[in-house]
Structure formats: structure tokens, C-alpha cells
Amino acid sequence: MKRVLLILKYSPKLTAGIIIILSLVLLAILEPTINFYRLGGRSSTEIGLFDTFLPPSREHPFGTEAYGRDVLSLLLTGLKYSLLIGFTAGALATAIAVVLASIAGYKGGRIEAFITTIANAILIIPSWPILAIIVLFVRKVDLFLLSLILAFFSWAGSSRQIKAQIASLRERPYIDLARVTGFSDLEIMFKEILPNFLPYIFVGFSYAVTGTIMAETALRLVGLGPADIPSLGQFINWAIYSGTLAQGHYIIVISPIAFLILTFVSLNLINVGLDEVFNPRLKQVTGV
């Protein structure tokens, strides 16, 4: 515990990042409660609950939008879904990446070549247009399916780093020591290698989250994606297509963008902060 506090104290960026993302997650978790309290059991996406384009007031801190919905409530709902999609897709992508990259990195040879080729293909082929086409044609998309599709296009990115990391870890003397003590390959994978690249898994995860949220938002902005999943991207899409910007109600468009940016920034701060803490040069001097 003391170690954790020391680390947090050392890296303000890490601390800031963690605080921001936890706050956002907290908001998303509390969204049903908050909206229940604010809307008395009605859904935040229900059209016509209020008058359209009301200016910010005590009842509507962010005002209302083109379809008569309270902006703040919509924001919270959107945040919830965006984070849900991002974390789910991110988790799936990371899981796929870890499994495939581990196998590739540890076994090497033909298996590695095969997996690397697939990963490279996904990276090189412009995935977003293909993603758009898939979403266009698959009519009924629920949240999980959407996450899965996003994850499929996202795992390739972090897998390279993970694989390289594992391939280098494989050469470490402590792996040899485990071998001469009679450890099996599987034992080595799980007990020796895996614990050491947890920080990298997190970095891969945060990139996957950021990447998938962005991809999903991008889909929304061109009108694709299931309309019944009101993510922040969808919210922006509604705002733009209903002429909100044209009529000068900037806050309705800026606020969801702000939340998205906050999410990305906080995740990146965590990455940078982790890097500061685990910086090898520091380790040499102080052994931390």
C-alpha cells in the first residue's frame, strides 16, 4: 500500500489520470440513479420531455437540445455507453492480443510468423472503412456485438508490442533458471512471463479503449451504428444532424466532445505516468 502511495505521489500525471478516469467511471455507474432522480423514471432519450433548446438553468444545467431532452442527462447516459463500449471492446481486444501475442512470442517459428502476418494484415488494411461496411450491413447490433466487432479491428495494434515484449522476456536468464529448475513451458508462461508484462497489458488496454471509443464515435458521425445505443458519439451525431450547431447552441455539441477528450486525456496521462514510474533509468539508480 505504501508503495502505491509513493508511486502516486511521485507522478502527478498518473494520479491526475487515475482521478479523472475514476470520476468518469463513477458518473457512469451512478447514471441510472442520477437520471432517475432527475427525470423521475423516464428515459433520458425520450423525446419531447421538455421544451427544445432551453438555455442552461437550475433545472437544466446544460439546457435542453433539439428533441427536447435534457442535455446533462443525455451526457451521462452517453458517457455510460461510450465507456461501456470502450472498456468492453478494449478488454476483448486486449484479451485477444495477449493470448495470440503470448503464443506467438513464446513459441516463435512458424506459429509466430502466422499470427504476425494476420496482425499485420489487419493493421495495414484500412480497417475503419471495412468496419463501417460491416456495421452498415449487420442490421441488428447489440452492445456486445458492436464491442466484439470493434475489438476485432483493434487487437492487432497492441499485439505487436506485447509480442515483442514477450519475445524479449523469453531470452531473460531467469527463464533459463526456471528451465534448469524443471519448469514446464506452461508454468514458465504463466508464472514467469505473464506477471512481468502487466504494465504493458494496461498500456495496450488503454490504447484499445481509446481507439475503440474513437472508432465508434467516428461511425456515429457518419450516421452508422445502432441508434438505440445512445453513446456520446451518437449524441454528437444527433446534435449535428438536427442543426444544433447551425443555430449556435454550442454547448450541446461541445459538452459531449469534452467528455470524450477527458476520457482520452486521462487514459493517456495514466500511460505517461506509468512510463515515468517504470522508467528503467530510474530503476538503475534507486532500485524502485
Binding site: R172, P173, L177, A178, V180, T181, G182, E192, P195, N196
Partner: protein
């Protein structure tokens, strides 16, 4: 015949590099026709060679991490590959290693105790209280204080301490054959003596050691016998005192005269002359025949390029050089 613990019989090892680049040959002959033996009488045999000489390959072959391309490696009369196939557990219990790098040999995620507990569990050495007692004993035997060592993470200990924990691991396992791969080259001078003394003490526990190093000085300090290896071939071998005081092979002589002596009154008198034509890296040994030292030898004769000299026995030493016989 087999009063010998370990026997290398005409062992050769060729590495095939996967994919080739502009950086060198596609195959590398790491060892060529290497033969030597370690007797069952506990001794310290030093294998002295520079980087690229093949000494690490010998190390990996003994441990079974690689297989010889040709020739046989026999442990207690049975080939190593047979051991690994049928009695792997027994073999790795009897044949152990101390690595060069005291930093990388510990998994940074775990406490240092783990390397000792790993050994105890995998080799069924003891359990519960008895195991703990043995761990304490083994740490104290190498001059470490258990209270200061156990529970620590690798980065909290110095290189010297970490390397000594490796020694206590050997105390726990009590193998018959220990391969020590440059165990002190990454330690400070002031810590080397202590470590090497313990290595020597292992003889009393019935452990024979193969001490692999590039440093003739430390080999002189602890070895009973020395082998000089160059470019995959053993060029000279014999009792330590004899080889050092009366070196036969030109390479051995060159090694000895090139070592700086820690005494300003005994500075080098001669100068090294670079042969401009031989500037380049010797990439991938031309061990197709011939003495690998041919390029750098001031006594080189024509036949040295074509044939590898047979072993000549002179008193207690053996040398492979056409200058003799």
C-alpha cells in the same frame, strides 16, 4: 573407463541462423571437434576463452538447452539426451548452473526467496520447517544473513548478494556438476574473492565445477586444471600451474602477455601492432580445417592453414600446435 563424470567426445555444434542478413554468415560453427573430460574426483576445471570462442555453447550443451550437431556428451557414461529423455529430473538435480548476470537471473516480480523455494519444491528437497531450516543454513553457509535477505526483492539487494544467493541455491540442491558461466565478471573486484572461495569450497561437498571465464586471473586463482578455447577449438589444457607458468600454445602466450598486471613496475614492454589487413571482424569461423588461430599467429606455417594440429602430450600438458611434434 568411466571414472569420468562428464565427457565431451568430438563434439561439434553448428548454428543455423534463421534468415540471413548482411550481418554475417547464415551458419556459425560454434564448436568443432571438442573433447575433454571432468573426473569424478571433485575438481575445478576452468574453460578460458574470449567472447565468441564457444564457451557459452559448451555451457548450454551440458545443460541440455542445445543439442550437439555431432559427437557425444556423456554424463556418468550415458548421453545427455538420453538423460533428458528418461531421467530428466535426476539429471537436472545433478547438473546445475550459476549464470553470469546476477541481475537478470531473478524475476523482478517475485522476492528472492522464490529461487530457493523453487529449488526445494521442484527437487523435493524437504518441506515445511525442515525446508526453512535448510534455507537458513544455505544462506549462512555463503556468509549471508537470512534476516537481511529473505523477503527482499531483487532490486533491493546488490549484485554480490544476489550472486551469493545463487551459491546458496547450489548448497541446497547439492549437484554433482556445477557449470559456472562467468559468475564473477559482473561483480565488483572486492566481492569476487569471497564468491570464488565458496566455489572452491564446493569441492569438499563433492561438487565438481566447470568454471567458464575470459579472465585468466580468476581461473588461476581457483582452478585445478585449465583448458584454453579459441574459436570453437580447444588449443591447450593442463594443470593450472603448468599452463600459466609454462604456456605452450602461441595463443596462450599471447593471452598471458596481454593481460595488464596490477603493478606499475611491470608494465607492458612491447606494443601491439595492428595488422591492417586483419582489421575486420572474424565473422563466422572458417573452421573448415586448419588452426583457427592461423590468422593471428606469429609462428604460422603453411600447414596450419590446412590442417588442425593433433594433440601432443608434453609432461602433464596437452597442446594442439604444429610447433610441437
Amino acid at each position: 573407463m568411466d571414472d569420468n563424470l562428464l565427457v565431451f567426445q568430438n563434439v561439434s555444434k553448428v548454428f543455423r541462423r534463421v534468415g540471413f542478413g548482411f550481418l554475417g554468415k547464415a551458419t556459425v560453427q560454434a564448436l568443432k571437434d571438442v573433447s575433454f573430460s571432468l573426473s569424478s574426483e571433485p575438481e575445478v576445471l576452468a574453460l578460458v576463452g574470449e567472447s565468441g570462442s564457444g564457451k557459452s555453447t559448451i555451457c548450454r550443451l551440458i545443460l541440455g538447452l542445445e543439442e550437439p550437431t555431432s559427437g557425444e556428451i556423456l554424463y556418468k557414461g550415458k548421453s545427455v539426451s538420453d538423460w533428458l529423455r528418461s531421467n530428466k529430473k535426476e539429471y537436472i538435480r545433478e547438473v546445475q548452473i550459476i549464470f553470469q548476470d546476477p541481475y537478470e537471473v531473478y524475476n523482478p516480480f517475485y522476492r528472492v526467496d522464490r529461487v530457493l523455494w523453487m529449488a526445494i519444491k521442484k527437487f523435493n528437497i524437504a518441506s515445511g520447517d525442515e525446508a526453512e531450516r535448510l534455507i537458513y543454513e544455505s544462506l549462512e553457509a555463503v556468509g549471508l544473513r537470512p534476516r537481511e535477505i529473505l523477503g527482499r526483492y531483487p532490486h533491493q539487494l546488490s549484485g554480490g548478494e544476489r550472486q551469493r544467493i545463487m551459491l546458496s541455491r547450489i548448497y541446497l540442491i547439492k549437484p554433482r556438476l556445477l557449470v559456472a558461466d562467468e559468475p564473477v565478471s559482473m561483480l565488483d573486484a572486492s566481492l569476487r574473492a569471497i564468491f570464488l572461495d565458496h566455489l572452491r569450497e564446493f569441492k569438499k561437498l563433492g561438487i565438481s565445477s566447470l568454471y567458464i571465464t575470459h579472465d585468466l586471473n580468476t581461473a588461476y586463482y581457483i582452478a585445478d586444471r585449465i583448458m584454453i578455447i579459441y574459436s570453437g577449438r580447444i588449443l591447450e589444457r593442463g594443470p593450472t600451474e603448468d599452463v600459466i607458468k609454462n604456456p605452450l600454445h602461441p595463443y596462450t602466450k599471447m593471452l598471458i602477455t596481454s593481460i595488464p598486471v596490477p603493478d606499475p613496475n611491470k608494465r607492458w614492454q612491447d606494443r601491439v601492432v595492428i595488422d591492417v589487413a586483419k582489421l575486420q571482424k572474424v565473422s563466422g569461423r572458417e573452421a573448415i580445417g586448419g588452426c583457427p588461430f592461423y590468422n593471428r599467429c606469429q609462428f604460422a606455417m603453411d600447414k596450419c592453414e590446412k590442417d588442425f594440429p593433433p594433440t601432443e602430450k608434453i609432461n602433464n600438458q596437452e597442446v594442439n600446435c604444429f610447433l610441437y611434434g
